[in-house]
Symmetry: T
Subunit: 144 residues, 12 copies
């Protein structure tokens, strides 16, 4: 089982930015934790981060050739990108949407997601665990 992990804009700053919201782990820490859990499941993972909406769309479009599913934290593009939504809709791979922070506790404009209605499900608020739980959900879904 091959899974593409996509990190949206500004997530490359993790660990350096606003730790009261996002915790102190770096993106690398997250990727390593995912890799460890993936190994347990027998999943191979590839990681992709970009601040660029267009590059994220490019990456998603090519996913069906190499991956069985996507784990995505769309960050700010959750709330503004119909292009991301369209690319995920187009490729048809199952995906899970995760958020480090609890988006329902933050600004009003972060409560709505363009992607969530197409996702298997959404997990938000558990820091690193949001990713790990998302990977687990994805793994279980595909296995069945």
């Amino acid at each position: 089982m091959r899974i593409l992990v996509i990190h949206g804009p500004n997530l490359n700053l993790l660990g350096k930015r606003e730790p009261e919201i996002y915790g102190t782990l770096s993106l690398n820490d997250i990727n390593q934790a995912l890799e460890t859990l993936g190994a347990e499941f027998g999943c191979s993972l590839r990681f992709f981060q970009s601040n660029n909406e267009g590059l994220l769309v490019d990456e998603i479009q090519q996913a069906p050739e190499n991956y069985d599913a996507i784990l995505i934290n769309p960050a700010a593009y959750t709330h503004t990108s119909i292009a991301l939504r369209d690319s995920l809709s187009a490729i048809g791979l199952p995906f899970v949407e995760v958020h480090l922070s609890n988006i329902h506790r933050r600004e009003e404009f972060r409560h709505h997601s363009y992607l969530a209605p197409l996702a298997l499900g959404q997990i938000s608020g558990f820091g690193l665990d949001s990713y790990l739980l998302g990977l687990r959900a994805l793994f279980n879904y595909i296995k069945n």
Copy 2:
């Protein structure tokens, strides 16, 4: 570690109702799966289901005496009950909100949650897995 699992209105019908939305598991199946996972974590669980907003509030109020955390699927009361919100706010126990179905894919009035801003986080869309992931999230949170 003791965890109270609360199921909101109509969840006692699981397995008998609308399987295209909620899957075919009964509430008992869910509880057993949770118990198994809880045992793995060394958690003891108690289960409570009610269709009655007031009884749910009663139960939540007494939780701090016997439990360390709450795993709750508030079902329809997610969207209408400020009383439930107030009880969870009052007792101050950490809790996770879970939903079997992806609430963002359903009617507009199911997108908003009165409880989510107070929860550690929200998990929606993974059927039984929503509960299991929620228990896992709760366990990890308390352990740290």
Copy 3:
């Protein structure tokens, strides 16, 4: 043919309350008129009134075992209870929604119904006749 007649909150006060809106009949009068009409149709009826959202949900959930259809005046819960909606959706029995007064002539917040989109139809404004017409509609629907 067995029909469950459900009266929502405050309808036990009929005849004693605001006669300029609801007329002077008591709930008992309504039930007797329904019983008489039901007898004509060869229907047996059972009546249930509660001020309690949760008890109404409980009652609706058990209906499929004993009834073929439901005649319901959800009163105030028409406008606030997603739990009632979910229970009716879950059991899948045909039901008709009735209102004594013309809800479109009253406060704005009484114009919307969470239940109506799931009902066979809605009848509002005819006092006792709303119930009798609703029973008739239900009877005709099932007969065909």
Copy 4:
């Protein structure tokens, strides 16, 4: 007792149009069923259908000279015609508003009625039965 039955725009197509919404009866079938029931009640009925808002208003204005009440399915004009509302308000005859389909289950713009607040009541969702129940309600109202 003389009753004017008014059918709004496009109802002349009944039986030929969208049977999944409106059933398979023609307008003539509806009128005959009404006539039969009216005869039972000792009511004489006249039927009027038009696709033209102005002609409907004209007809309503002349009703008080010849009729005791109006049974109306305003169809699309339910949601857009203040002129129809004003004519019904002006003549002051009691009227009942009926709809073949359950308007609360259809597009958002069909949920609001300009006429309902002036009607004795509104009946929607029972196909032919909506008309028959409406006639019954009207008959009972005038009789008392």
Copy 5:
């Protein structure tokens, strides 16, 4: 003069919950302070608290037999319960609505009250004093 004092959901937790919002008094303290003031006025008081919307409606419905007026803190149901509103409207007893905290300083969804338009008046923001002032207002109103 006999007055029924009704406390809505979660008010049984007073003194144990969020003191920065509600102060440190228990519900018992409030009741005793009311009793003392009531004695001064020659009023007998009975106290009723429930987390259950339906039980609150039941209690209100029976009030006219034993009481001259109602002092009510509807708490969370202030903002969601049309059933409570309908029961108060039905019995027709004068009532005063009180809130411990200043509801206009809290979340947007706490600014609107379904009950206030039917109340003699509303008092919010003075902690225990909200109750005492409300009792005073009620007493003066009935006395005149």
Copy 6:
């Protein structure tokens, strides 16, 4: 100076309908009063009433051949007819919009006018005087 006076839907009922809103004058009374005033000004007037949006549009379209200006009470079509607006915009004759009743004191949906932004001005609330003042305004405008 030739002026076309247009009366919208239901105004043919004047004197027979809701006198508490529209007064007791008939449409004929209004026309005669206008004629008298017009004669004073040396204006010839023609009167046109229809309940039919399309016929009103037809009449307006032909106005430029025979008239210098239009005095119009669009009644219910004030609030719903973009077609009327477009016809008045197309012909480019100066026109005044009048209302017998004070539309700002009535239902919310009567506060907005599709025609007013194109009119010289709007006069509402003075009964017959609304027409007479409107004629006067029109006369003064054209004279200058």
Copy 7:
């Protein structure tokens, strides 16, 4: 018959300001034209202009002692002053609201009037004529 003419904020600039909206007449010109017409009717007029909401309220409050009616152009306060509305409601004198420009053709925020629902009627869009027609309407109203 004594009439108080009230001019709201910035109307003292008439003739000097934005002639493309308000024309080239000064406030004095308007007052003289009113006086001339008033004389015809046998009305005595007094004129009052202020840019100050409070002073306008003061003036209105004292009107009942000396005047039979009020002609008011509330200008900008039309859209923002509940205090002006309350003063007119309190004194109970009949009044007419006039506007030089067609307020329905201007910015959205100028379409709503706090005063109009209490006025006999509203006249807008005819420049000086708005005042003269308003005086005429007021005179006719009181005379009858």
Copy 8:
């Protein structure tokens, strides 16, 4: 292939009205251009214009007997007529909606169309070309 071309209200004024919006062609010019293009395609065309919503509905209802498709410029009724929408929905013929002007550049109330969701497609902004392109689209659609 037989196509019905429907022109809504005020389009009979084309060439005489607001050329800065609609260009200088008359309705006849448009019809001739369509006829020429239709001839190229081997289509026979019939043209119908009315200012009357009801007559437009009548015409549409009879279309299935004689035509394969409809080309419609609903003009002002685009934005207000649910009756037109219902008639097009009922007959089920493929149709294309065209507008001479770019409706997205005009008033806010012209941006929404009741018909567009049922049309094959919508073309707006190209003057005469909107019609010609629409005919072409219709022809291609039916041919395939």
Copy 9:
């Protein structure tokens, strides 16, 4: 303890205006009743009424030099004056907002208060008693 009592616009008319809303007491009656109660508490009171927003702001700004608290009925400015809000926020004195009538029973635009979120609390609906209860609340607050 020194308390400034501020009465907003039009309250000088009390007793002369709309008694069905405000009762029959004059402003003087209210002030005397407050003085009597203040004397009981050992409070000295000063009274200030103005119809002028700016003068009310001036008065509030100077309050800290001479007063410990403010009792204010902002009347119409409750709903429109951010300047009043800013002055109360700037001086930082505790204040209570009172209303003679139940503002939640009146027009929609009277439900919102710019001042209430800054007040200790709000009391509305008890006529003279609103003031007296407000003074009592203020006294108790400062005493503690």
Copy 10:
């Protein structure tokens, strides 16, 4: 005549994605069809597709040097990109906006276009034909 054809995000997937919405043609098929039609008109065309908002803006900015007009399917950016709008506004070339699917039949958020008010016109719903009709419209516009 030189025309730049711009395809927005995800259109490179055409033929591979959601054929029930977009048909089975690839982007290449569309380009060839356009090229063929362009040749007929004597137009040279260049094609540009990107998933990247910024690159689309770059391309549009350089268009005036080499092209006479633009044919654009902005896809998802139709609804979210003010930057695209600004670039088209800045360069001032005539452009036509096209959509393969009928955007008025899809999700609410696809009904609004930031670009359409600046376009010559908008064509939506005809699959490949939307492009071909758009090219035709553009050609005719420039030719005149």
Copy 11:
């Protein structure tokens, strides 16, 4: 070059009020700093502060006789005063709107300005510097 500096309501409290929002400078400090900078530019300045909307309007109306431009901090009236807007629009002097605090970071109701659309520009958030930058902008504008 002569410039009128206008300070709106409550700004006379500067230095004494909420220093965490407005800083610790007094209005006098601001005026002196402006005077110093004005002297550098060869501008003479006059300062005017009032809490009274009407007096501010009076002052603005007289400005054209003595000043070339206006620098204004409208404070609370920014958000509520159409009268201020009208006066600035009427006199036609260039003006700059400044705010000490960042109004976009404060309550929602402070984000909208009635004056900004008429201003040369708006500067907000820089404390004393907002005024100094505003003066500079005004000076540069007039100089050119």
Copy 12:
């Protein structure tokens, strides 16, 4: 002191585009004027322009290593980019938001800024001067 100057999408077209909105200066002219003023202050400046949201985010993320503050004209992304907001929030450098044109005078959708609540302040409407004043504000802020 080192300052990064960021120009958003389409600003590279300055001088070539819509001079009636943005003036006739090129981006280079702006940069030189800023450099000159920066030199006066002893600031070194670097300039960055991109049409690409992602590249702007990249640039902002790296700013803390080399700069003390940011001067940004986010252009179209002001109104749509949460990603830009998040990057500025993450790095925590002080920044000033500037706009050449007065955004409050333009389309409704340009009135809201996602960045302004995080900025020191916002300056809009002064052309080149908006940048120069912004630099000045930034310099003064850091100096203190």
